[in-house]
Amino acid sequence: MRRGIFGRKKMEPSRGNYPALPSIKYGETVRLKIDEVRQYCFALAAQRGYPEDSFGMIADRVGFLERRGLPGFEALILDLTTFKNETLAERFSIVRPNGVKGGHCPFVAGVQLDDKLDEFTSGDPYTSNVIIAPSAAMLLIPKVASFAGPMGRLVSITWYRDDQEALKTVLDGYRIAHNGDLTALANATEIGFARYPEEEYPIPPIQAGQFNDIEVSAERMLAIQDLLDE
C-alpha cells in the first residue's frame, strides 16, 4: 500500500492471482496450462511497471503465441531479464541507452504500428514495409493478427537478420504459418509487412491454436521467481 496525494491510501496495481511457483530443481521441467502462463505474464507485467491496462494485453499476446507452439513466454521472460536495468522510459525509446537503434519494447513497437498497419497491408504485396525490430519481436505477431482478423486480411511478415531475409510468416486473425528459420522470431533486426498476394499464390497451410499447455524449464521458473521477487 502506498500513499497517494492528499494522504489517501492508493492501492498498488494488482498483480492478479497467479499460481504458486512450483518447487523444481535445475534440469527439471514443469508443465503449465496456457491460462497459468497468462497469469504469470499478468503478474510479470505488473511487477515490471507496465501500465495497468496493458497487463491483460501482454498476457494474451503470450497466450496467443504459445497456443500456436511459439515460445512467447520464453521471449517475454528473456526480454524482462535482459533489460531489467533499463527503465521503462528507456525501453520505450527506439534508441537504446548505448545509442544503438532497435531492441526496444515490443509492446510500444506494437502501439507505433497502430496507424501504419492498414497502409502496410493493403498496398503492393511485393513491397515490404520495413521497421526496426524491437526485442522479443515475435510478441508483435498477435498484434498484427488482431488487426488482420476484423479486416479479413492475409498478412505477410518478413523477418530480416542483418538485411538478410530469414523467415516468412503468413497470418490472418487466428491462423499462422512460417517458412524459414524460426529463430528469427527472437533475433530479427528488421521486420517487413505486406499484404499476402493471395490472388497469385495459394494460401500456405495456416493453422489456428492447438496447444493447451507448455513445458517450462526450472531455469525459466527461477527467472520468473527472481523477477516477481524484485
Partner: protein, 103 residues
C-alpha cells in the same frame, strides 16, 4: 473487390445475420471465438438454440459446415444435437462479421 468487401456485402444483403447475431449471448459468441482460436474445432449445440440458428445461416454462406464426423455419433438425449466446423472461408469471414455486427 477484397475479401473484406465481399463479406460486408453479404452481411448487408442478408437481413437474418444481424438478427441472429443479436439473439446470441456473450457465451454463444465465445464458443465461436474459441472455435476460431482452435485448429479443427468442432462446435456442438442443440437444434433451435440461438447458436444453431446462427450457424445454420453461416452454413448458407459457406462459412460453417455440419460435421460429418459428428453425424455418426448418436445420443439417447431427447434433443437433437448439431455439430458444426468452420470452413476455411469462415475462418476469415467470421472475425469480420463479429467485429462489424457486434461493434
Amino acid at each position: 473487390m477484397t475479401f473484406f468487401d465481399q463479406v460486408i456485402q453479404e452481411l448487408r444483403s442478408d437481413p437474418r445475420l444481424p438478427i441472429l447475431l443479436s439473439a446470441c449471448s456473450e457465451g454463444d459468441i465465445s464458443v465461436l471465438v474459441a472455435m476460431l482460436d482452435t485448429i479443427n474445432a468442432l462446435g456442438t449445440t442443440t437444434k433451435g438454440s440461438p447458436n444453431s440458428d446462427l450457424w445454420g445461416c453461416f452454413e448458407d454462406h459457406g462459412w460453417m459446415a455440419k460435421s460429418q464426423t459428428a453425424e455418426a455419433t448418436e445420443t439417447n438425449l431427447p434433443i437433437e444435437m448439431l455439430s458444426y466446423e468452420l470452413t476455411d472461408q469462415g475462418r476469415r469471414a467470421v472475425p469480420i462479421i463479429l467485429s462489424h455486427a457486434l461493434s
